[in-house]
Symmetry: C2
Subunit: 260 residues, 2 copies
């Protein structure tokens, strides 16, 4: 079933979501940005879309209004928007609970959170991207699930509490992992070595971790309880005491995780 | 130039290295294991190889003897082996310095360290694997560099000090990264969620990190200095105080890394 959809926001998530929804046969009928020029430019890709900078949207021809804006703006925009009767209003944030839409002028509020990171101008296929859907009522949940399933094989109902866990899990698996790469690159550069050298090893490590699961894939001095190497490496980090402590704590956490 | 090569050890590294060297036209002429039956079985893949459990190898027809054994056994085996005149003896360890071979009965000692993780029975192409080569003298270094270049485009001379840095960098980029996945999986499972959900996000995060470099690719609450989210996530980890402390320290280290 095709929907008429209004997109509120013109950033990365808005860009990717609009394309994907239009490709799936939905109609992007309106684009909002508080900067009307930004809305107009964004709207040029969507022939049937009106554009504008007014939050009075009660006359906009859409059933689903998607907030694709900064986390901190959601509550405010939702409280100031006006919508057609029966319209669904959803946000696309991983970290904000459904209750952030508590002041919206409709009961049909929900969450439509695509679990992916988006880069400007680099189109991605949504097919394998999990879409985390939540609704204040069954009507909303079902409508957003159908919308999710129209662009992804992995749309599913996820509670605010579960979404909070996903966000925390992603901080460890993505943000912290990326910082481990930064630390690693610094260590290499201090010895005039190129981080490139490590890429085949990193790639194979992650392949193996995905294949057999991270718990079984763990290697290194900590899980071997190779105290001699652990001491030597800890000592060599002493010029950055914070980093040395991170090394010590993660190593200890690995040891403890496998000794139960 | 083809070499005659003796392989000391029958583990993963021995298995992968032997195949790759033979495919590149070298001759695997002898297999050693302290368990002669293991040596015999391993040797069945190499028609021209003799096998045995004796460290008296002065009559073995090989120019290069490769120690592919556990790190902690290297020093002992090197001190007890006997070799033909002029033979080269090298180990394959990332964490042991060249001096570990100090008691070997030859001056032609070196290191031949393939920077990769190997899984049993799953053949890998060595072409893109960096081979870190070090020699006690020019003759040894050059011979091992040639050997490395015969199986890889990325054989290069690496000092013991550099190799120590590579090993530490790999602990952060691989071992710790994998543990971040384990932590992430635990967080997901506590909310009845499948770690699978995160894989597209992790894959894209790593793609981006490799593409534009980890320093520029950093995202998340820490680099945004989103203290509200940092506090909430920290509090939610309090049931595992060690993990909460890891969360706090890595977040702080990210903030500090970008504020200079």
């Amino acid at each position: 079933m095709a929907n008429r959809i209004a997109i509120i926001g013109t950033g990365n998530v808005a860009w990717h979501l609009s394309r994907s929804l239009e490709n799936a046969g939905h109609l992007i009928s309106h684009i909002y940005d508080r900067d009307s020029e930004k809305a107009r430019k964004f709207g040029m890709d969507y022939f049937n879309a009106t554009t504008g900078s007014s939050l009075n949207m009660s006359e906009i021809d859409a059933e689903i209004f998607i907030l694709a804006i900064a986390d901190d703006a959601i509550e405010d925009v939702a409280s100031r928007i006006s919508l057609p009767k029966e319209a669904i209003l959803c946000h696309t944030s991983g970290s904000k609970p459904l209750s952030t839409l508590g002041y919206a002028p409709t009961d049909n509020v929900g969450v439509f959170y695509p679990l992916q990171t988006f880069s400007k101008g680099k189109a991605v296929s949504f097919e394998n991207i999990p879409i985390c859907v939540e609704g204040e009522n069954r009507f909303t949940t079902d409508a957003l699930l159908r919308l999710g399933q129209s662009i992804s094989d992995k749309a599913q109902e996820i509670s605010s509490q579960q979404r909070r866990a996903i966000h925390l899990a992603a901080v460890f698996a993505c943000n912290f992992t990326n910082h481990m790469f930064t630390v690693s690159q610094n260590i290499m550069q201090n010895q005039s070595l190129d981080f490139e050298m490590l890429k085949p090893l990193i790639a194979e490590t992650i392949n193996k971790s995905f294949e057999i699961g991270p718990k079984r894939a763990q290697t290194g001095p900590a899980i071997r309880e190779d105290l001699k190497t652990l001491d030597l490496q800890y000592e060599s980090l002493k010029t950055d005491p914070e980093l040395a402590e991170i090394y010590r704590l993660i190593s200890q956490h690995i040891i403890d995780s496998y000794s139960n």
